[in-house]
Symmetry: C2
Subunit: 338 residues, 2 copies
């Protein structure tokens, strides 16, 4: 399995990304090749720092980096030799099976959309992110690929999310919820009300509006929303989870009884902390493009980068794209809305 | 201090609301009068159930209830004798100092806006919600009053949020962040980019875009966003916090060592659980209307209802509205954008 890694993408790149790549190589035997795309001397320096000399690494030089302040679309046109563009090219040429980037999300989405093209029937790619429930996970799409979505895009996200839920998470009959500000049909803003109508007429197993309390404890299998809302919700939840465990730790060291208690209960903490940890999740799949693209957090740690590479490997095994194509075809053939 | 309570508003009303009112009366001496507005026989039955015979209670009969599926604006016109409308009337007439409702948020906002009117210079009310940081709180506005906001409304929220931060939370020089999907100036959707420009030209202490990781651990004092995003973010965070402690509890009972550890560390858990608990927060202030209106969750427990009444009492003492009026006047006089 061959993964192309955008070694320059992310707030702590290439340091954390290269370190994560080294961790992935040490852990995953199925990785037969890892392309590290970016500035060769800097990548080599980081590999030296972590004492990694794995023969499965191939450094692919790229002279440019898309900066976080760059415009997404024009970055693809203006920085043709950016690490993200070159990494996408490796997938396009068939040299790599998947790409992972923790860089500029918009640029990664734009480069993938322009170079790999969208799947038939799809108008915009969407980031599918997994959220934990007590015993499983649900998928939310879009977590930030498309922050100015049109209602039709969300209908396509519903189809793609359902395919993902069925083939990756193993729910035989996933139902779809629309993220909103109340569960009643009348709740929402102008945008979600339009989406609601489309979904109701779509023939998909639509459960109506869902909100916070439906998400983690009585979840639907697929949650759809436009990218701005999904991204804010994802990052806020991750940040709150991190804050809760940080604050709890500070409280636990306040006296020796608590500290002893924490030591006894350590396993329970670790289980739940890992369940809600952004680092553990690693990265999210960009659905809708004709290729496998994993988007990781800008602030990825080495562990997060390693796990994002793992998500890329899992996605190569899962191969959901043919199922999306098939399902979109069926959807357009059957849907009374079309 | 006299509070009007919409006894019929909420998923578990009048049961939880009346029980919360009884708890508030038992705890808060400063409450001199509590109006319970709604169906008299049902309210009396609930008071009997919780064995509350407090002489500070006055039941005000209302024959109608705004149902959660009702349209917000038309509910004010069509259900003139709803519990929420009658409760707002008590503030308008000066009989009550503040109103608390856990009912239909849109209806509470509409009734307050139509009957109490907006403060000078304000075009839309916004819900100001407090979020915890490790040592203090920050205020987010709007958490759901105005789900189809225009950019100008967010500018007014920034002014109101700053006043709230200064006079209620005690930050001498609060800075404002715009909730977005990246911290760089170029990140966001079309809506937030317009807001960004307005804020940059406003003369307010604008810190730029903020996202998840800025919120709880390196917070700005005032976070602004449009109501749909704020409401989704608030409810998702509350739901996740609840889920984390529920899952942790289930993990902790899995073996006796963990259980013993949990017992020793109980105080630490309680401190952090309370910090992030929706029940403990109780309710949020609706800023921008000429009166004091507290919005509580539809799913309020009795404890949440009690705490929402507490928020109402605190707001009566804080009296931020005159400061908002003054600050809006100064803002319109000074702002180069006007």
């Amino acid at each position: 399995m061959k993964i192309a890694v955008d070694a320059m993408g992310g707030d702590f790149a290439p340091r954390n990304i290269v370190e994560g790549a080294a961790l992935a190589l040490a852990e995953y035997d199925k990785l037969t090749k890892l392309f590290l795309v970016g500035d060769t001397p800097r990548i080599e320096a980081e590999l030296k720092r972590v004492d990694c000399h794995d023969s499965r690494i191939e450094i692919v030089h790229a002279t440019q980096v898309v900066e976080m302040g760059d415009d997404a679309i024009s970055s693809v046109r203006k920085k043709k030799d950016s690490s993200i563009s070159v990494a996408v090219d490796l997938v396009k040429s068939g040299d790599a099976d998947a790409i992972m980037s923790a860089g500029h999300t918009g640029a990664a989405v734009a480069a993938s959309t322009i170079k790999l093209r969208l799947l038939p029937g799809i108008d915009r790619a969407g980031i599918a992110t997994l959220f934990p429930t007590e015993t499983n996970q649900f998928v939310l799409i879009d977590a930030g690929a498309n922050p100015d979505a049109r209602p039709l895009h969300l209908l396509q996200y519903a189809v793609m999310g359902s395919v993902y839920s069925r083939y990756v998470l193993g729910y035989p009959n996933p139902s779809v919820g629309l993220l909103s500000i109340g569960t009643e049909d009348s709740k929402g803003n102008e945008f979600t009300k339009e989406v609601f109508t489309l979904l109701k007429e779509s023939g998909l197993p639509f459960r109506g509006n869902v909100e916070g309390h439906d998400l983690f404890e009585k979840p639907v299998e697929v949650v759809i929303c436009e990218g701005f809302v999904g991204n804010v919700m994802l990052k806020s939840c991750e940040a709150l989870a991190h804050a809760i465990f940080t604050w709890l730790k500070h409280e636990l060291v306040k006296n020796p009884f608590r500290w002893a208690g924490a030591a006894l209960a350590k396993g329970a903490f670790k289980t739940i902390r890992d369940k809600v940890s952004a680092d553990e999740a690693g990265g999210s799949v960009l659905l809708g493009v004709d290729g496998i693209v994993i988007i990781a957090h800008g602030s990825s740690s080495a562990r997060a980068a390693k796990n994002a590479i793992r998500v890329g490997m899992e996605s190569v095994e899962q191969q959901v794209n043919p199922h999306i194509v098939e399902e979109m075809k069926r959807f357009y053939d059957l849907s009374p809305a079309q």
